[in-house]
Symmetry: C2
């Protein structure tokens, strides 16, 4: 029988569907010793003793899910983004990732990265590690230690043209064996928080034999799969040249596009690809900011959702310069607006963009919570009994105006006190920073929040 | 004779041209009692006693110039951005601005806004006030009090169709008279920091008589002019319908597009418009984030620069959700990349975007400093003798990793200590927050910096 271990009272904001902001003022959430929500009820019904009473200006939000993080690239966040993808990888990124052969170096990154993401409300992250087994397992250990829900993958890459000699698996068979061992090692940590994930880097970095072997490993192990898919013109064209079909078709033939596979980017997915992936149960990690630099086009999000494709959001650290998923939400709104309107003023407005592409802050937040959870098959993102209690708080009123939420509006009485939640929610999504984040919970337990880490 | 009042030693970063990052390690800047730079020399040459010695991880940058701020809209920052421009104005923005009839209300905004911008390194701001003379003059006083260099304009708007009855000048002649009085009142403050600026809101809000009267006032008073210009399809089409010519041509006929006029947005400026404005000496306040929401297209920045047009950056608070000009720099890079690549994946890459549109962090920073100064005819933006000493510092190394610059890279030795400045600079532009900003100087005098205000 579940024992209630934590009771929290306050205002809950969540997005149960992509179009609905659900506001529950003065509710009580009870959390069980299994880390899941037991009940969510109005305070006037549930009179249980409260452990944490959130003040009027603080809201509780479901934890954010980052579907695409390259952990070793954390130190180069925000740099090198003027280079083409292949040059960025070979001159800049592969040398950095290769240094994770040094376990001490890797651990110094993980011990900075994982808390930094938790501090931003990222309660679940899907990580690319490096090709190194020790560094990858150490990343999983760091997630357990800091209490972040995570999917951690050893990167597999063996193609002699698509990888540099200094950062490459020695052969397809050795790569598959190393990935299999990393799955076992991560499972041996025996944490409910952390799962292994099979991680062929992307098709250009993998031989046919490796892709085939990892597809078989997915079936044999039951582990999820992540990779990149139809990211940009160069990569998309490469796969067409090599296989005569799109990434989606190729990945499906290798058994890598399957139920709950996490496919990053998808900027160039055709309607047929979207339908295929939807049928297979695979999902897309939409990385709006990274795609500005490396994607060559905007992921057709609305078309994907209309076809029933699972979609969540990713920071793509460090192809994206922004580690916080609220900021990534804002970027997803921005690029959707630019797809909708178009960019080239010399075209008439009717020919400039793609009508009906825009999303708002509610849909963006849904992508970063429920959407991401559905991609992974995770019971999270909603404030409902049975869901994991992964959540965080944002303080929206601060007498000292220290926060760059700039909720001077509230203090000046621009909004009625608890009225106009959609506008407040929009402001939270666009303006909240780590300094505005207080509590963070993963699996029902408190972890270090933003304020602690940002030293405010 | 100028007396040196401040001597600062450290690393100076600036962008003297749009393509050049100038790095001067271990230099000494001396500042005179007139607020201008006296000398900039290597420390090995200048042995003067130093007042402030910046540590190895701290850099000195020229102050940021925000060419377009709607001061009364500060409380609604980050909200309402899913509405079309005309609806956003009438339902949402005009009612807020109208409340500045209450001087106490207005002052409570100014006293939050001005320090918040200074804390982000915005040493010069070009403000739209409200239609109210007392509130507008109070904004100028707030800039003097907090020591921000500023151009402050009383908003003139009298068109019975283009404005709501509750927020409108009673007539063209009364509007011109009120603007003239506000110029005198701001000049009477007798501060070298603050200038008045003539501010017809935009053509749809102004009658012909008002536009004509303000053009004459510009000639008579010698004050600069600011307005909006070719912002989006609706506004651009409106002006074409009303006058049969573009905004640029219409504004030039009214004497409002003139030397150092600040024209916001310009998303739909034609090549002929760009050439005309360049010849007139007018400049564009490029507001990349606001344009995502209200612009319908990306300002053709590279084409404008090639034609010799003066261009700087604006936050367009609160059409843009981001008050910090470094963040606006990052957005300007983002939208330039999206214009370059295009957005619609269904088009072939050769037809998707506008080649040669991309800018990098160096050009973006140049726009926010030298570019903005050239629009205004201001001697600022460069570390050279005779320039105003408007500047700020960014701390790039922090042992506690508190800053979300995430310069873990430096601590891990990813970069050689003082090597690879272009990458560091890119990271500063994309990642520095108010918490990373230490000192801020305007006209040679220290003002409250980011750390003080963000309480970290």
């Amino acid at each position: 029988m579940t024992i209630v271990t934590t009771t929290i009272r306050g205002t809950l904001l969540s997005t149960p569907t992509s179009e609905v902001l659900d506001v529950r003022e003065d509710h009580v959430v009870t959390v069980g010793d299994d880390g899941r929500i037991v009940s969510v009820e109005p305070a006037e019904i549930n009179h249980a003793p409260v452990d944490i009473h959130l003040d009027r200006g603080t809201v509780l939000l479901p934890g954010l899910i980052d579907l695409h993080v390259h952990a070793p690239q954390w130190p180069q966040l925000g740099t090198g983004l003027d280079l083409p993808l292949d040059e960025w990888l070979f001159r800049y990124t592969f040398p950095l990732e290769a240094r994770c052969a040094d376990l001490g170096f890797a651990n110094s990154i993980w011990s900075a990265l994982v808390p930094a993401l938790l501090a931003r409300g990222t309660t679940t992250a899907v990580y690319y590690g490096s090709i190194h087994e020790p560094a990858t397992v150490a990343l999983a250990e760091a997630c357990v230690r800091h209490r972040q829900r995570a999917y951690v993958g050893r990167v597999a890459m063996d193609h002699p043209q698509g990888t540099p000699a200094f950062y490459r698996d020695p052969s397809a068979s050795e790569a598959v064996a190393a990935s299999a061992r990393s799955i076992e090692a991560i499972r041996a940590l025996d944490s409910p928080l952390v799962q292994p994930i099979i991680t062929p880097r992307f098709i250009p970095a993998c031989t046919d034999a490796l892709l085939e072997g990892l597809g078989e490993l997915a079936t044999a192990s039951g582990a999820l799969v992540q990779t990149h898919c139809s990211e940009n013109d160069w990569e998309h064209g490469y796969v067409l040249d090599r296989f005569g079909v799109s990434d989606s078709v190729a990945l499906s033939r290798f058994g890598l596009a399957r139920d709950h596979s996490v496919l990053a980017h998808g900027c160039l997915l055709s309607d047929d690809d979207l339908t295929l992936l939807s049928r297979l149960g695979a999902g897309v990690a939409h990385c709006p900011l990274s795609n500005v630099y490396f994607g060559n086009a905007v992921f057709p999000l609305r078309r994907a959702l209309e076809r029933g494709l699972r979609v969540g959001l990713g920071s793509d650290i460090a192809g994206g310069a922004e580690p916080g998923m609220l900021a990534v939400c804002a970027h997803s709104v921005n690029v959707s607006r630019m797809l909708d309107d178009g960019v080239d003023q010399r075209l008439g407005s009717e020919r400039r963009g793609v009508a009906d592409s825009a999303i708002d802050a509610t849909t963006a937040f849904w992508l970063a919570t429920v959407g991401g959870a559905e991609v992974l098959g995770l019971e999270a993102g909603r404030f409902e009994p049975g869901q994991w209690f992964d959540a965080f708080t944002v303080t929206t009123i601060d007498e000292t105006d220290r926060h760059n939420l700039d909720l001077v509006g509230t203090r000046l009485g621009i909004w009625p006190d608890l009225d106009d939640w959609p506008r407040r929610f929009e402001k939270i999504v666009r303006r909240a920073t780590p300094a505005d984040i207080g509590h963070v919970w993963v699996g029902g337990q408190a972890v270090s929040g933003g304020r602690a880490l940002s030293g405010g």
